[in-house]
């Protein structure tokens, strides 16, 4: 017998009483304005959250974020990204994948208010590895991207044809508590996360 048959036969031979279908569960509703709740929850997770008027304010914000961290005025933008058209007069743009001391900027597909979480659906122009390679990630959240909970993200993705190959949920910079149970930032992913929430 193959492993498949062995396992399925073992399960079926022993299965006695089947539990009923679970009833629906609704998480407590997210209170207040979604954008404000999202910003508040994510800011509480060591994240630099800035509310901007529109895309026109992004170049200055990026330059300021890099300056504030004493980083070179260089940023990586994925090829084929919708951000490719972004004009950054004072910052050098690179298209190759960022290294571990570089900065990168991407659009977040969704922002989840319940937990202050960015959701990135991988695809052309949105390579998943870019959320883990750099030391600084800048994420741009468009007004229509903010939803209440993860279930809303899933509903939206299903309507668009299903899950991407990778859906990354990110709620702050990378961290570890593995040495003496004390939290330290920048374990493998970005040590620093900046989020630009656009009002329009």
């Amino acid at each position: 017998m193959s492993g498949r048959e062995t396992i399925l036969a073992a399960i079926r031979a022993r299965k006695l009483k089947q539990a009923p279908l679970p009833g629906p569960y609704k998480a407590p509703a997210v209170a207040g304005d979604l954008a404000q709740t999202f910003a508040k929850k994510l800011a509480a997770q060591q994240t630099d959250v800035r509310v901007l008027g529109s895309m026109a304010d992004v170049p200055d914000a990026i330059a300021d974020i890099l300056r504030g961290r004493n980083m070179a005025a260089t940023i990586h933008i994925p090829p084929d990204s919708e951000l490719a058209l972004l004009e950054l007069p004072n910052v050098e743009v690179r298209r190759e994948p960022p290294g571990q001391f570089d900065a990168a900027v991407t659009f977040a597909s969704f922002a989840i208010a319940e937990t202050g979480t960015l959701a990135y659906a991988a695809g052309n122009g949105n390579p998943a590895s870019w959320h883990f390679r750099p030391v600084l990630e800048v994420a741009i959240v468009r007004p229509g991207a903010i939803v209440a909970e993860l279930e809303d993200v899933l509903t939206d993705l299903r309507a668009k044809g299903g899950l991407p190959s990778t859906l990354n949920l990110v709620s702050g910079p990378s961290r570890t508590g593995d040495i003496e149970q004390t939290m330290e930032l920048g374990a493998h992913g970005p040590k620093s996360l900046a989020v630009l929430v656009l009002k329009s």
Partner: protein, 467 residues
């Protein structure tokens, strides 16, 4: 380092006298319990959420065959492949076959207790493949040739000085005189060393916290992002996980994701949650996505008194709240799964003769069941294994003799009353300052405690006199 669960009592005594373990365990107990309590309180109605989690997992465990078949079809449809491993050896061979097929020589690994369970690393090394653990705690214990001492905090038993010594010994290409005093310096050094390993790896192996059958997705939660670099940089991604991790769909996962981090670390959500369905495809050669489903004794628990332990989502709350684990740590168990989880699971999958001690190492205080996010009746399952041990004649002779003696007396009320009254009077004679401090043949018991001295009459005698 104890690797034999039969040596548990001896290893536990040694752990109690380990001076380095005491501060780590004290910190562990304070931190995890306080953080969970805070996370649960902040959520609001956590009890309703626990009931929902229990029902979802109960449905999974009793519909495993259907869900696994659905999962396989969904994974196939997304360009992945499911491998079925009835035993640990089957699982090791399945992983090796995938690595050989893709000509992989080095692999990075995300955190996976199932790969510890099937002892994958020594097997890969014996076959010329270098596995590199990338979760910081797992990396540290791998360098030290130790097993993890906790399922989600594998190196919590070490001090930062021990970690610094290990790094100085192993990272030989770095300046031997560099400063390694600060924790973050250690974290950054591991980050740089491991980044090179990620870039060079041919394949990445992760576990899975959940499998969503309808979507063909594997889900992992991490705080470091190591699981993601493990998946996203190499050509091939292999997920190794237990058959019981499957649930119906991503909606089930969304609910369980509210339970898991809060129960584990008190976080509302872990920093990274990765939902992985199919090959990465960022580069043309990234075409391999494999899920190795490991049974290794799980299916034989279905339909037994221990079935409910299959609901487990490996949050470690039971371990973090266990007074036994809190006193001795994880290594003493000599098994991959420790604490109440190990006590309920190990006798079922590894055998009562090998791991019966684990089920006996309990005060039955019940905190494990109180904090379990999927409401597993852990003390009830431990009691079941104790009964099996007794029925199979595996319990120590002194215990079975003592119980048989007590049962003989308890079934004969006159004899019981006579014995009790004699004992009460005899113990009164041994009493000093209202307590018995020592008795012949019971040095062990009295070494750490006193027994209140009886006042000379039994409860039943006093009751008769007063009514």
């Amino acid at each position: 380092m104890n690797q034999d669960p039969r040596q548990f009592p001896k290893a536990a005594r040694e752990a109690l006298n380990d001076p380095l373990l005491r501060p780590a365990l004290t910190r562990m107990k304070m931190n995890f319990a306080a953080r969970r309590a805070h996370g649960v309180h902040a959520y609001g109605d956590f009890e309703t959420l626990r009931v929902a989690g229990r029902d979802i997992r109960d449905y999974s465990v009793t519909h495993l065959d259907e869900l696994l078949e659905t999962l396989e079809a969904s994974v196939n449809a997304r360009g992945g492949k499911v491998h079925w491993a009835a035993t640990a050896e089957d699982a090791r061979q399945a992983v090796l076959a995938i690595l050989r097929e893709t000509d992989a020589k080095t692999v990075t690994k995300g955190k996976s207790m199932v790969t510890e369970e099937i002892q994958l690393n020594p097997f890969l090394e014996a076959n010329g493949i270098v596995p590199v653990e990338t979760d910081l705690g797992e990396y540290i214990v791998q360098l030290r040739h130790e097993p993890p001492s906790h399922i989600i905090a594998p190196a919590f038993h070490l001090t930062k000085e021990q970690v610094a010594d290990t790094f100085r010994l192993e990272h030989t290409k770095l300046d031997p005189n560099r400063s390694l005093v600060e924790r973050n310096t250690l974290v950054q050094e591991a980050r740089a060393v491991l980044r090179a390993k990620f870039e060079a790896a041919d394949a990445g192996i992760t576990g899975a916290n959940f499998l969503a059958a309808a979507e063909g997705a594997a889900i992992i939660v991490t705080n470091e992002g190591n699981g993601d670099l493990t998946r996203l940089l190499p050509r091939t991604h292999i997920v190794v996980t237990g058959i019981e991790k499957v649930v119906r769909d991503m909606n089930d996962v969304s609910i369980l994701l509210r339970l898991l981090p809060r129960s584990a670390t008190g976080q509302a959500i872990s920093t990274y949650v990765s939902i992985m369905a199919g090959p990465v495809g960022e580069r043309a050669e990234q075409r391999g996505f494999h899920i190795v489903l490991v049974d290794n004794g799980r299916s034989k628990l279905i339909g037994t008194e221990a079935q409910d332990v299959l609901r487990c989502i490996r949050c470690s709350a039971c371990i973090n709240h266990c007074p036994i684990y809190g006193a001795i740590g994880g290594h003493a168990y000599g098994a991959v799964y420790m604490g109440p989880l190990g006590a309920a699971l190990n006798p079922g999958v590894m055998g009562v003769a090998e791991t019966g001690h684990h089920a006996n190492a309990s005060t039955f205080c019940g905190r494990c069941a109180e904090v379990c996010p999927v409401m597993i009746p852990l003390p009830k399952i431990m009691r079941h294994w104790r009964a099996v041990e007794h029925a199979q004649g595996l319990a120590p002779k002194s215990l079975t003799f003592g119980l048989a003696l007590w049962a003989f007396a308890a079934k004969r009320p006159r004899l019981y009353r006579l014995g009790a009254s004699l004992l009460a009077r005899a113990l009164k004679l041994f009493g000093r300052d209202g307590a018995v401090h020592a008795l012949p043949l019971m040095q062990g018991w009295f070494a750490v405690r006193d027994f209140p001295a009886p006042q000379g009459k039994t409860f039943q005698e006093q009751w008769q006199a007063r009514r």
